[in-house]
């Protein structure tokens, strides 16, 4: 199948499911755009969305609850210079669209009405995933059975497992973007996720471990290669490690980060600070630093929305721009920002396919897709062996950054001490804090073992959540502050 036919199919599907039921055609869209486009409005877009999602959750051995949610609507945005007017409606009907257009254009006074010359043209798109419907990809009884198998596997592994909580979620979202420059683009986006958390108990002490994964595919993904069961095994393994863990040290030390999900470091420390909006406004610690050396020579970091089937990937972003692989840091030098259309235009740069929004009821912003560091040369064993005394952190919970001061933190959910080049006892409660603009200058070694996360990331910004991916090879970073309780 060629990219072209897949694109046309998505566009046809989107028009058929979003516009046809309301009797909205090119003429009606012209009318709505015409209401916004005067000499003071530079740009306008309409974002139609229909999504269906479900979740099933298991605890105490049984699937006791499930939920389905359907939503649809249209967001209408008008931009004049740096001003944005925005309104939305959960009914896709012409009067509601016209009302929303009137509300959105109110940012520009005396907007002279004129009809937009709208000849819908191909926005171009990729074919990184099939327009699957996860909700229909398994019988409901099989979804329940899958969660039950995950639970049984976790319990089978160790008698100290006292609780298993597992959840399965899937969604399919159809979006259609119509822009005032005539581009019309559509996407049909499947997304699935399976999560397992276990509680283990021994001699009155309790700990937990979590694992999971997913991507832009259907539930069949979890049935292949025993993936669902492997999440159960991983959650149990982590929980048992933590059961043996002692309090983490506090202070400045060498830290080795494992491959894959620890790439959350790049997301927090670097990625957010390189988003176009913060840089246009000069509120990021990275503002005005393009071309500066901000990392060790061994570091090349990209944001890549084009990885097939990944949770953070998109055929087109929520402004109809095809996604791409954007080099953010090239051999230590800051090369690019993460851009949506508005910030790219105001900064005189090209959009990078990172204009994303949680739904039609939210404004798009520059957001990451899959952010990772390219592999280096060093085998991971050599990196561990090079550390006399330090911390080896392989799994993390959440992280957060203050983009203005550049300070970021992230919390280890599985970590070990390194002593004399060997991995030692596990430690719990280690939080790592650092400064975004200089943390990558402290990267001393880059592993040859690049891995991406298993498909579990959700990024929050200004109250909007979007699915993302991260990745990295094993890294040694010198002089990081670790916040435990042991001095």
């Amino acid at each position: 199948m060629t990219t072209e036919t897949s694109h046309n199919r998505n566009l046809d599907r989107a028009r058929e499911s979003l516009l046809a039921p309301a009797g909205i055609g090119v003429g009606e869209i012209d009318q709505v755009m015409g209401r916004m486009l005067g000499h003071q409005i530079d740009y306008a877009d309409l974002y139609f969305q229909y999504s269906r999602q479900e979740s099933w959750s298991l605890e105490e051995g049984q699937v006791k609850s499930g939920n389905r949610h359907i939503e649809q609507g249209v967001g209408v945005r008008a931009i004049a210079g740096e001003k944005t007017g925005f309104a939305y409606s959960d009914e896709i009907v012409l009067p509601a669209l016209l009302d929303a257009a009137t509300a959105a254009r109110a940012i520009a006074r005396s907007g002279r009405e004129q009809t937009a010359p709208l000849a819908p043209r191909d926005g171009g798109t990729l074919s990184l995933y099939q327009p699957l419907d996860p909700l229909l990809s398994l019988e409901d009884t099989a979804k329940v059975a899958l969660l039950e198998r995950v639970e049984q596997e976790a319990r089978r592994l160790d008698p100290r497992v006292t609780q298993v909580m597992a959840s399965l979620g899937g969604s399919q979202e159809t979006i259609l973007v119509v822009r005032s420059d005539g581009v019309m683009a559509a996407d049909v986006r499947p997304l699935v996720r399976l999560n397992v958390t276990v509680i283990v108990e021994q001699d009155g002490r309790r700990e937990h471990g979590s694992s999971g994964g997913g991507g832009r595919t259907d539930y069949g993904y979890f049935l292949t290669e025993e993936r669902a069961l492997s999440y159960a095994r991983e959650a149990v393994r982590q929980a048992l490690v933590n059961l043996e863990a002692s309090p983490a040290p506090a202070g400045t030390m060498q830290v080795v980060l494992g491959p894959g999900w620890p790439g959350i470091l790049l997301h927090e420390a670097i990625g957010h600070g390189l988003e176009g909006d913060f840089n246009r406004k000069g509120t990021s610690a990275f503002a005005g630093r393009l071309g500066d050396k901000i990392a060790a020579d061994t570091c090349t970091v990209v944001d890549d929305g084009t990885l097939a089937g990944r949770r953070g990937s998109l055929n087109v972003d929520d402004e109809g721009t095809p996604t791409q692989s954007t080099v953010l840091i090239e051999r230590g030098v800051l090369r690019g920002y993460i851009q949506d259309r508005m910030n790219a235009r105001l900064m005189n740069m090209a959009p990078t396919g990172n204009g994303r929004r949680e739904s039609y009821a939210h404004l798009p912003m520059p957001r990451m897709t899959n952010t990772y560091m390219l592999a280096g040369q060093t085998p991971p064993e050599e990196i561990i062996a090079s550390v006399k005394k330090g911390l080896y952190a392989v799994n993390f919970g959440g992280g957060q950054v203050d983009i203005t001061s550049g300070k970021f933190v992230f919390s280890a959910s599985e970590a070990y001490l390194i002593e004399n080049g060997r991995i030692g006892r596990p430690v719990r409660g280690a939080t790592i804090i650092g400064n975004g603009p200089d943390v990558l200058t402290r990267v001393a070694m880059v592993g040859n073992d690049l891995a991406l996360d298993s498909g579990i990331g959700t990024c929050g910004k200004d109250g909007q959540s979007v699915p993302v991916g991260v990745g990295q090879p094993t890294l040694r970073i010198d002089g990081m502050t670790v916040g435990g309780t042991e001095e």
Partner: protein, 448 residues
């Protein structure tokens, strides 16, 4: 004219919609059902560096239904109120209930606990604010921040938001409760520069039910500027163990961690560090926490909880001893206890203040760390382990000496609660957890 969207005019009332959904569920054979539905509208305006940045018109609308077929349940939700969408949502909930396991603890709240009359808590004060007025207010707020200090050179903007709406909860047992409420706010976030390439950002905001209770916009701007400027020149401190004073707006999070650990699901899953902790001393003997759900105009007020259960004044901690958990009907039945009207959360959970204001607490601490901002998620509710990124000020002799950043503070929540030394009377009332600042005996600070 304010160009609000007016497509809701043809829709039936929320009470009618709830009744229709319950009726559809009954006709599908459900033995019981509950419906939550709401409709709201709002305006949000942001001004940055004196210019309008965004004008957003909000309209939220939702209906969610949970159906019970004996001991099995399923739920679904929709934002589309048309007859067919409503019917599809009910059918989806029923379809799920065919596959879920029977659970004897499932079901609606015990009718004996339901709210009988619904007091007016004075929560509904719509603000007829035009877009132009909102812009003017935001501009005055931000202008005041810029005027307050020459080191304020950039801004994330000042925002004015207003929202009002109606929420209805109805059950097949005949409970029908309607709550109308409004929420208005002014906020401002600005950046300061220290002249050596360092930047800091901080903010201030107000959040109220009645627009007449908002402070002058200029005050918020000036406070945002003051908070930002005082952080300039922050540095790490050496790793140490010292007393820590949490400013009221961050102390609130310590109460939220407590609520999370004593909430029904954490307890019956045994995923809490506070299992079997009722009637044990979690805090020093002078500590008192209580819920006051019927406080007029308060942000956390509600006449009934998420299941229609009557809310009333309830103690949580007296004499330092935990007196109860925070439960909904399901978790209460599982634990063999009675609901505490906490379906959906706590209502104006308040920590009784001591005599000192913030300056008094700083003096009481003498030497230690004053924390004004926390970042990251290093809280393990299973073990109580606590380690978060922090920013604030180093204090000597009861006086602020210099700003501090890029540090973590760590301990175990159990030790932190036990080591609570004082609660200030500088109460932050902007949320459903109300507390003054907390002085804690000792935490591990990790720095350079």
């Amino acid at each position: 004219m304010d160009p609000m969207i007016t497509t809701a005019k043809t829709t039936p009332s929320l009470e009618d919609l709830a009744a229709q959904a319950l009726d559809l569920a009954r006709r599908q054979g459900a033995s019981a059902a509950e419906v939550n539905t709401g409709l709201g509208a709002g305006l949000s305006v942001t001004v940055r560096k004196g210019e309008v940045e965004t004008v957003e018109h909000h309209r939220d609308k939702s209906l969610s239904i949970t159906v019970f077929f004996g001991e099995r349940s399923g739920s679904a939700s929709t934002a589309d109120f048309r007859a067919q969408a409503l019917s599809e949502a009910v059918m989806a909930a029923c379809a799920i209930a065919r596959h879920t396991a029977a659970d004897p603890y499932n079901g609606l709240a015990d009718p004996a606990h339901l709210a009988r009359d619904i007091p007016d808590l004075d929560l509904y004060h719509p603000w007829s604010l035009s877009m132009e007025e909102a812009i003017d207010l935001a501009r005055r707020c931000e202008d005041a921040a810029f005027a307050a200090d020459p080191r304020i050179r950039n801004s994330e903007g000042a925002s004015v938001t207003t929202h009002d709406g109606t929420d209805v909860y109805a059950t097949s047992d005949g409970f029908l409760g309607t709550v109308r409420a409004s929420r208005h706010g002014i906020s401002c976030a600005v950046l300061g520069e220290d002249g050596h390439g360092g930047m800091q950002r901080d903010y201030d905001y107000a959040s109220v039910r009645d627009p007449r209770d908002l402070p002058p916009a200029e005050d918020i701007g000036r406070r945002a500027a003051r908070r930002t400027v005082r952080r300039l020149g922050g540095r790490q401190i050496k790793t140490c163990q010292v007393p820590v004073l949490y400013e009221a707006q961050v102390a609130r999070s310590l109460v939220s961690h407590l609520v999370s650990a004593i909430s029904g699901p954490s307890l019956y899953r045994r995923s809490s560090f506070l299992l079997d902790s009722v009637d044990t001393a979690l805090f020093p003997a002078w500590v008192h926490l209580y819920e006051e759900p019927h406080r007029k105009k308060a942000m956390g007020s509600a006449p009934f909880d998420g299941e229609g259960v009557e809310t009333r004044y309830r103690d949580l901690v007296t004499g330092g001893i935990l007196r109860r958990y925070c439960l909904d009907s399901y978790s209460a039945r599982k634990l063999g206890l009675t609901t505490t009207a906490n379906a959906g959360g706590v209502h104006n959970l308040t920590v009784a203040s001591g005599p000192e204001d913030l300056a008094g607490l700083l003096r009481q601490m003498g030497r230690g760390l004053f924390v004004t901002e926390l970042i990251g998620f290093g809280i393990n509710t299973v073990t109580g382990d606590y380690s978060r990124g922090a920013a604030g000020f180093w204090v000597e002799g009861g006086e602020i000496v210099h700003p501090v950043e890029e540090i973590t503070i760590a301990s175990n929540l159990r030790d932190m609660y036990k080591g609570l030394v004082a609660v200030g009377r500088d109460v932050d009332t902007r949320h459903n957890v109300c507390t003054g600042s907390w002085l804690l005996e000792r935490m591990t600070v990790a720095g350079g």
